[in-house]
Subunit: 188 residues, 2 copies
């Protein structure tokens, strides 16, 4: 009995959760019901503790949201690192937005006051794009070309996820039109 209930000897209670589990729960909650529903209570309930216990592992709610943003960017970076053409990158980028719309919005268009990922995570998510942009536009214009591509892709998918394409017409056609246009525009 004493070996199980170790607190009977005044020893520390065994951990009932972990930072990893908390971030995972937060990411699920974000995708399932949006940033507003990502409350400390909801996260705590999901991992099986009370809200105040979370403060042993994260500084506050903003810090938790930042961890979610950084985990999201790491995943995106990994996926974009595979791409070798503009079309590859574009499709991978868009697919990610469709799979994780809330996380995508969190990292690409955080509202004012929403915490953002550290610089290194944002840089990491752009290296794949920068590589391909450099090949097409030349090293002198790599950064500008990468920014043109990223702005277009992020803008397009954000608008799409926000239902901003309400005028009819095929969104897929507009996407392919854009991919072709951007690729041509940034190719030296």
């Amino acid at each position: 009995m004493a070996t199980v209930n170790s607190y009977t000897r005044g020893m520390p209670t065994p951990d009932r959760t972990s930072l990893d589990e908390i971030v995972r729960a937060a990411r699920e909650l974000l995708e399932d019901s949006g940033l507003a529903s990502l409350t400390m209570s909801a996260v705590a309930q999901r991992v099986g503790v009370r809200a105040p216990s979370l403060y042993k592992r994260v500084r506050d709610r903003d810090a938790l949201i930042q961890l979610v943003a950084e985990a999201t960017l790491s995943e995106l970076a990994e996926r974009l690192d595979q791409g070798t053409t503009v079309a590859d990158l574009a499709d991978e980028f868009r697919a990610f937005g469709h799979e994780r719309p809330a996380a995508f919005a969190l990292v690409m268009t955080p509202g004012a006051g929403t915490p953002v990922a550290g610089d290194q995570f944002r840089v990491a998510a752009t290296t794949g794009i920068l590589r391909v942009a450099g090949e097409l536009a030349g090293q002198d214009h790599a950064l500008q070309a990468a920014r043109t591509f990223t702005a277009w892709a992020a803008g397009f998918v954000s608008m799409e996820l926000n239902g901003a394409f309400g005028l009819g017409g095929s969104v897929d056609d507009a996407w392919n039109f854009g991919v072709t246009a951007i690729a041509a525009a940034i190719t030296r």
Copy 2:
């Protein structure tokens, strides 16, 4: 006395505020301190009543935010209607984002759960772009061209406002590079 304090005869109290004034206060608050600070209490204080009184004029906080979004889009539409070239539209669009960053973010990249403007307001903000896009790309590709332009411009300014261009290099140069690239790309 009775003519001044009309309530002494059981008559309605004179209005102490108006919907217009409330929306104006909300827009100021949004721009001054962000969406999170746009609370019913703060708006009420700004117009000189108590929070519960606001519910006589707006259904709830979301409805008020939607009114702010719609007022913002009306103003943007008016400004874009003047433009005759891609560069005109692009610069006007970007200038608007710089002048009203919080309102710009609210309408271009509302977070999940954030109320959005009615369709007619979003359509109105695209007519100027659609007109110029049609002239350049031909009517058959007007919609796709407009979407390519809008996605790029919205994405670029959003990234800029979010400080996503941290890699160095001139942001203005990247903007001009993009304007030229997009204009060429959508010109038939």
